[in-house]
């Protein structure tokens, strides 16, 4: 699906990082120094932020949203749409977005959506907000994207533990003078490449699904933990990540060098570096900031923007009139967004 939505703007972006930090080198004794070093080399992750035991993705997004509403002096009654993008919702039912409507003190005239996508989620969240505004249905939509992936993985799954971190984000999308281009795709034939196999209705939770097993690479997990086929995902990102960015650039009639910033989903340092090379992108325009945060799922894009381009950072984001965001993840799903962030208020991550 490709489209251009007009009369819209991305007004502001904020992110929240939980305060607990897991240093990868602290796993030296548990996993062996050699293994830790090798993985850190490839992933580029030195440390991740980990949500508290009782802190959920919605709690983290709530903090980011609150800060945004306050800083932007938004009248809460003017918010008429809320989109919560996460794979780690508060409950199976009801939708977490409605709980957030109440917690944030928004009007009952707000329409709320939960979008259960992971790493590609931010693209979907912005798309949902854009269609709500572009159709005239809403005027101000809050997109809250975040995950507590550290709670979804098994702590003895070495490969995952050294990659994922937690973070929540809030983005305000409103009526405006810009246009946003979208390219979004799906491939359900690869549904099992990134999956939490049990706990849904296909394979209900049972004693069996809670049993730990060891895979061929000495990673321990249960069927209720997140599983990722590393090599399938790598190939998928390199192939489709490239295609999507090229497709959108062509659709927007943008030259790749005209683009001021590429906010790429931070899967691992190696993968993004390789994708960057294949696309022949300037390293400075397509930065990698995974070292302090890990792969934070649907919030990696707002996190790279807030981490590096916050008000006061000295970065001239007023020149960011052509920005490409691109993400790929569970589903498998992937997509890209072409937008203007030159007037967007980008706030420093809470607890950076």
């Amino acid at each position: 699906m490709k489209c251009l939505i007009e009369n819209i703007k991305i007004q502001a972006i904020a992110t929240y990082l939980p305060t607990n930090i897991l240093e990868m080198t602290s796993l030296n004794d548990l996993y062996s120094e050699k293994y830790v070093k090798m993985v850190m080399n490839a992933t580029g992750v030195n440390r991740v932020h980990v949500a508290d035991e009782k802190q959920t993705a919605s709690d983290m997004c709530f903090e980011a949203a609150n800060m945004l509403i306050e800083k932007e002096k938004i009248e809460k009654e003017e918010i008429d749409g809320l989109v919560f993008v996460s794979q780690t919702a508060d409950y199976r039912a009801p939708a977490t977005s409605i709980i957030l409507q109440d917690k944030l003190g928004l009007s009952k005239e707000t329409v709320c959506f939960d979008i259960p996508y992971g790493c590609s989620g931010y693209i979907y969240g912005i798309f949902q907000a854009a269609t709500l505004i572009g159709s005239g249905a809403c005027s101000n939509v809050l997109v809250l994207a975040g995950d507590t992936t550290t709670k979804l993985i098994n702590s003895k799954d070495r490969s995952q533990r050294m990659v994922f971190g937690d973070c929540g984000s809030a983005t305000m999308v409103c009526k405006g003078e810009d246009q946003i281009g979208f390219h979004i795709c799906s491939d359900g034939s690869q549904f099992d490449k990134v999956i939490v196999p049990a706990g849904g209705f296909r394979i209900p939770s049972s004693e069996e699904t809670r049993k730990e097993f060891v895979d061929s690479e000495e990673n321990v997990r249960t069927q209720e933990n997140l599983y990722m086929d590393g090599s399938a995902v790598f190939n998928f990102i390199i192939k489709y990540g490239q295609e999507s960015i090229n497709t959108l650039l062509q659709y927007m009639k943008w030259d790749k060098d005209e683009v001021n910033f590429y906010a790429l989903h931070q899967a691992t340092r190696f993968t993004i570096s390789y994708l960057r090379k294949r696309l022949k992108l300037d390293n400075e325009k397509a930065p990698i900031n995974i070292s302090n945060y890990g792969n934070t799922g649907p919030s990696t894009i707002p996190l790279v923007l807030t981490d590096l381009g916050y008000i006061g950072s000295g970065v001239e984001t007023n020149k960011w009139d052509k920005v490409i965001m691109s993400a790929y993840g569970v589903g498998l799903s992937w997509g890209s967004v072409a937008c203007n962030l030159s007037e967007t208020h980008i706030y420093k991550p809470i607890n950076q």
Partner: protein, 74 residues
Amino acid sequence: MNEFINKFANIFDDTNSDEFSPNTQFRDLDEWSSLHALATLNMIEIKYSVKLKAEEMKQANSIKELFDLVMSKK
């Protein structure tokens, strides 16, 4: 052969270009990881139209052996 070495070296970010020769035992390189292995297979598929499997790649230890393996499949 040289072209292959260049394309292989390009997968690495931190390793000196003079460390790449036909006899380089690539798995001993400091930077080597399982992701580099995936990128190598990806490069071979895209640039040489050869779909090598991970188990097949395990047969090669030096860059030259890898090159020979790829050529034998063309």
